[in-house]
């Protein structure tokens, strides 16, 4: 188990290095640079700024300097935001995005498992048909549409009540987090529902369910102890990649709900070619996702003993 974890972590480090290098190359191949904004009005000022930020050096050297700093955990200073270190931007805003993401994932997983199990129990009957219709909606409608609809719903509720029960936008309290995380988790929830449904239907035809029945166990016990636990395995497998989908999907939802998350800075940085912020946030997100996937794999081992010993 330890050797397995170490191996996965090593592979993870290589992945992150690859992400960093690819981002660096892609960024420098895009025409223009961060100094093309209004700051560098004359050639002289531009030259001074280039020296200040090290942009006068050859690209290869810049890469080495960047990698060296990154190894020490320093992503440098933002080009566009006055005197703001990239590390500070991440430290200030990532917790917001992470909270949103974790909450969304929580909704998605609980919802997916519960709805999926329900549809399997009511297979081909009305509850199944209704839920599966919603699932198709959830998968095909983009999150910004749900975000806008969610806000509209909140506005209507609040104005009907005459006071603000759940805030429409902003960040701070738990009630602020409810709607955006629900919206953010919706498509994942729909996906997990489908997965859980087919997985449940597969497990119910397994021989060991027949054995459990022949043992004289109650339907409830068979459902929870024999069917659910085995059916949930594929759901856990897909959770790793889904964390990626949720964190990247979060950018749009953060924008609609005016949430001060890291997503906004990431998008802004790409638009303004803010080299250090692009690099910092990309590498950070990449490392975060790689870590999540590894964590999920380890978690999988706890639920499925067959994975544990290999």
């Amino acid at each position: 188990m330890l050797a397995y974890t170490m191996k996965r972590l090593m592979a993870g480090v290589i992945t992150v290095w690859f992400i960093a290098t690819a981002t660096f190359v892609a960024m420098h191949m895009v025409p223009g640079d961060p100094l093309m904004n209004d700051k560098a009005v004359t050639a002289e000022i531009r030259k001074n700024l280039e020296i200040k930020y090290g942009l006068d050096k050859p690209v290869g050297e810049q890469y080495l300097i960047f990698m060296g700093n990154m190894l020490q955990g320093d992503f440098g200073i933002s080009f566009t935001q006055q005197n703001r270190r990239v590390n500070d931007i991440i430290r200030d805003h990532f917790p917001v995005s992470a909270t949103l993401g974790v909450l969304a994932l929580f909704f998605a997983t609980i919802g997916g498992v519960v709805w999926g199990a329900l549809t399997a129990v009511y297979r081909n009957r009305l509850p199944d048909i209704i839920i599966m219709f919603m699932v198709i909606l959830g998968i095909s409608v983009p999150s910004f549409v749900f975000a806008a609809l969610g806000q509209l719903l909140l506005v209507n509720i609040n104005s009907a009540l005459g006071f603000s029960l759940v805030p429409v936008a902003g960040w701070g309290t738990i009630s602020h987090m409810l709607m955006p995380s629900l919206v953010l988790g919706l498509s994942t929830m729909a996906l997990l529902t489908r997965l859980m449904r087919s997985s449940m239907l597969e497990v119910i035809n397994e021989d060991y369910i027949k054995t459990a029945k022949a043992k004289g166990l109650s339907p409830l016990r068979i459902f929870f102890k024999h069917q659910l636990r085995n059916a949930i395995l594929p759901v856990i497998t897909i959770l790793g990649p889904q964390i990626a989908a949720i964190t990247t999907g979060g950018f749009v939802v953060e924008l609609v709900f005016a949430i001060p998350g890291l997503g906004r800075y990431f998008v802004q940085a790409v638009q303004q070619l803010d080299y250090t912020v692009i690099m910092g946030t990309t590498v950070f997100f990449g490392a975060f996702l790689v870590l999540m996937v590894i964590l999920v794999d380890i978690l999988y081992g706890f639920i499925d003993p067959r994975v544990r010993l290999q």
Binding site: T211, K213, S218, D304, R306
Partner: protein
């Protein structure tokens, strides 16, 4: 009468499929005496598994449906009970083991936990007591280092070991009947012999009845006291193991015997298979199910179902074949006791 532990009468089971209704079991009657082994033999799809699974109430309904008949365990009707009542005999009075031990145990639970689960549910034991008893049960089925093995998962067991564990699990509550649905089909021959030996031994020590479903006549000869031969959803011949092997009274039983390889020297003798294929159970034949393949078929066989004939001079040997009718022609290969033959 009192030593009949399980009595099944005229059981019929159907399955609704997209292609229509499959009449999988068409009026099956048999009984099992206390402490004996009844073998139910027949080719794939003849309804032998469905029969026992219907008795256990574990066929999925829908699409399955029990359309008639009864099953009495110690005189109590047990057919088609709702889960709550059925669970008073499932795993308690009737234990069951299945064909493929590799897939018949929950892959995410330890062997010990799966056995103790039965004990906790039916006997109300604490987890600790049940676990200790589970180890004893594994020991009883001759699994070495039972205590260590109980903490392992199915994927850490071999096929033979898993079938032993399955047997241990089914014996947890000392059932009066053990239903074994092709228990050795998925195992190799040496392991088969071990498992059969174990079952025979446990039958003696626990004094239980065994219903053994198989398509292996060698297994039948070795294990069974009585045999029921099934074909196309019906029992076409039943009797003691000697009756079936030495006094075969149905052409199908004869066909099965001839299709079996022997180790008696005549190596050059070719096996003679039963030609044709079993009837379509979407539209079961009006007459005898074996009509189309039977070398001795008569006109009456096509249009009328043969009744179950009790062979003269015997109380248990029955055959569902017109050739046992008093007016039927004499057939030298079949055991007949009809009037014509007696002349």
């Amino acid at each position: 009468m009192s030593d009949r532990i399980l009595e099944v009468d005229n059981l019929s089971v159907e399955f609704a499929t997209y292609g229509g209704t499959v009449k999988a079991v068409r009026g099956v009657s048999f009984h099992v005496n206390r402490g004996e082994t009844l073998a139910i033999v027949g080719e794939s799809g003849c309804g032998k598994s469905v029969t026992v699974q219907a008795i256990m109430g574990i066929i999925p309904m829908p699409p399955g449906k029990i359309t008639g008949g009864s099953a009495r365990l110690n005189g109590k009707d047990i057919l088609g009970l709702p889960a709550k009542q059925a669970n008073q005999f499932r795993g308690v009075e009737i234990g069951m083991i299945f064909q493929d031990p590799m897939t018949s145990l929950n892959p995410t639970m330890t062997i010990g936990d799966q056995i103790s689960e039965t004990l906790m549910v039916h006997r109300g034991l604490s987890y600790k007591d049940a676990s200790a008893l589970a180890v004893q049960l594994l020991d009883k089925t001759k699994i070495a280092e039972a205590a260590k093995r109980a903490k392992q998962y199915p994927f850490e067991f071999s096929g033979g070991m898993l079938q032993r564990a399955m047997i241990a699990q089914s014996l947890a509550c000392n059932p009066a009947v053990l239903m074994a649905d092709e228990p050795t089909t998925a195992l190799d021959v040496t392991i088969q012999a071990q498992i059969l030996e174990l079952m025979a031994e446990l039958q003696r020590t626990e004094n239980m009845s065994i219903i053994l479903i198989t398509h292996d006549l060698a297994v039948v000869a070795r294990m069974a006291d009585r045999v029921a031969v099934m074909y196309a959803g019906q029992i076409i011949e039943s009797g003691s193991v000697d009756d079936i092997f030495y006094r075969s009274s149905h052409p199908y039983t004869l066909g099965l015997k001839e299709a079996m390889p022997s180790n008696k020297g005549d190596r050059d003798k070719k096996l003679s298979p039963i030609l044709g294929s079993p009837p379509d159970l979407f539209h079961p034949p009006v007459g005898c199910g074996y009509f189309a393949r039977c070398p001795y078929a008569m006109k009456v066989c096509e249009h009328q179902q043969p009744p179950e004939y009790l062979l003269a001079g015997d109380t248990t040997h029955q055959a569902r074949c017109w050739l046992q009718h008093a007016g039927a022609p004499v057939n030298k290969r079949l055991y007949q006791t009809g009037a014509n033959h007696a002349d």
